[in-house]
Symmetry: C2
Subunit: 229 residues, 2 copies
């Protein structure tokens, strides 16, 4: 669809920047799936656990990763997706771990191929946890397997407690729901129990966590969860 996003729209496929061979019987998502499988094999070879982190713009993905980078240092690495700018990768590197940026040039999600290309830029020898910070978007990234072990979604308190059932395509696929910016509870009408219950109605086994980077709460539990402990 979205021509401006540079996604796999029909127009882009008809007029690709680089020549590509298309098998019209093979859906785009199958091509992505093949690359995701290659990524999965690579992650297994390196013994690294991989999280695909998804949320709306401004839900606090980068701020959370800065806080985790300070705790985990070289044990964590990050691949950051943004439409434009490398602001987020710079912030995460400054906090103490490796980070590489994918500028999607307008595309609304990361795909497995572009993630695979970035893995080669990372030194994974000391890395236990690789977090892929997806483009800020609650819709499109849900459909693209990047080869990750788990998808984790953030929902920030200012977004409202009604968002889970409004954006089910992501919330039905996650292992962990992280409610962020809980320090704003006193100033907002956000009922975390409602969001968590609606998430469990889609994904009964989901683990729900609450975090405030500002107050430093919930980070230990989140770190353990992301490391698979």
């Amino acid at each position: 669809m979205c021509e401006e996003c540079g996604c796999e729209s029909p127009k882009r496929i008809l007029m690709p920047k680089r020549p590509v061979k298309l098998d019209l019987n093979q859906p785009v998502l199958q091509v992505n799936q093949d690359h995701a499988q290659k990524n999965r094999e690579l992650f297994a070879r390196h013994g690294v656990r991989v999280i695909n982190l998804i949320s709306s713009p401004g839900s606090g993905k980068t701020t959370l990763l800065q806080a985790l980078a300070k705790r985990l240092g070289p044990r964590m690495a990050v691949i950051v997706g943004d439409l434009q700018t490398d602001r987020d990768a710079v912030r995460i590197r400054e906090a103490g771990c490796q980070a590489v940026q994918i500028e999607t040039q307008g595309a609304c999600h990361l795909d497995a191929q572009s993630v695979g290309e970035q893995i080669e830029r990372l030194d994974l020898s000391q890395v236990e946890l690789l977090v892929i910070e997806n483009v800020g978007n609650l819709v499109c990234p849900a459909s693209y397997d990047l080869g990750e072990h788990e998808k984790v979604a953030l929902l920030s308190t200012p977004e409202g407690d009604d968002k889970v059932l409004k954006y089910p395509s992501i919330f039905c696929r996650i292992s962990t729901l992280v409610i962020t910016k809980t320090d704003l509870f006193p100033y907002l009408d956000f009922n975390p129990v409602r969001a968590e219950e609606e998430c469990r109605s889609l994904t009964p086994q989901v683990v729900c966590l609450r975090v405030s980077v500002k107050e430093g709460t919930g980070l230990e539990a989140l770190e353990a969860r992301l490391l698979g402990r």
Copy 2:
């Protein structure tokens, strides 16, 4: 792209639910453009001004429209887009104006055809202002002309003042930037001047407004702007 979104992905085009005739030389966006042109003619016939309202999930689109509905009553009507649920249309109707819901069944943006189908469900005889509340997404809706007079974007203070240059595809196309939830200024590191200056660097003629529905500030100026005064 996004198969789960139900967008015009290659897979959907290869296996449509309803038979469609595709001219492979005609890009998808051109088809949308033709429907947008029909919508534009319809809006002109009814003498109604139309705004395409775009933001991240949870930036306060519906809350803002509730506040405007209380002020404008039957002079305003709303077409609401959401992946699922009709929660937003119900809220806006309760506030006092006509509202119809498009459930996109997972699609990440509204298109001109689906908007055109909803217009017929509205009685536009008393309506001066029609607001199309797009799906909560800062990326994909930017590419789709719905036949509107202007695109207006919301940026809520909790999302952060760095979002304009990270999501330029929408912020370069708007007539008006509305910074929402300004009542949260005391609790956040949000510099509205930075966001506004970055927006003007993309769109020099953009008008920037600041609104807090909670405190009732900025609504008069926004109402005048949306009505084209």
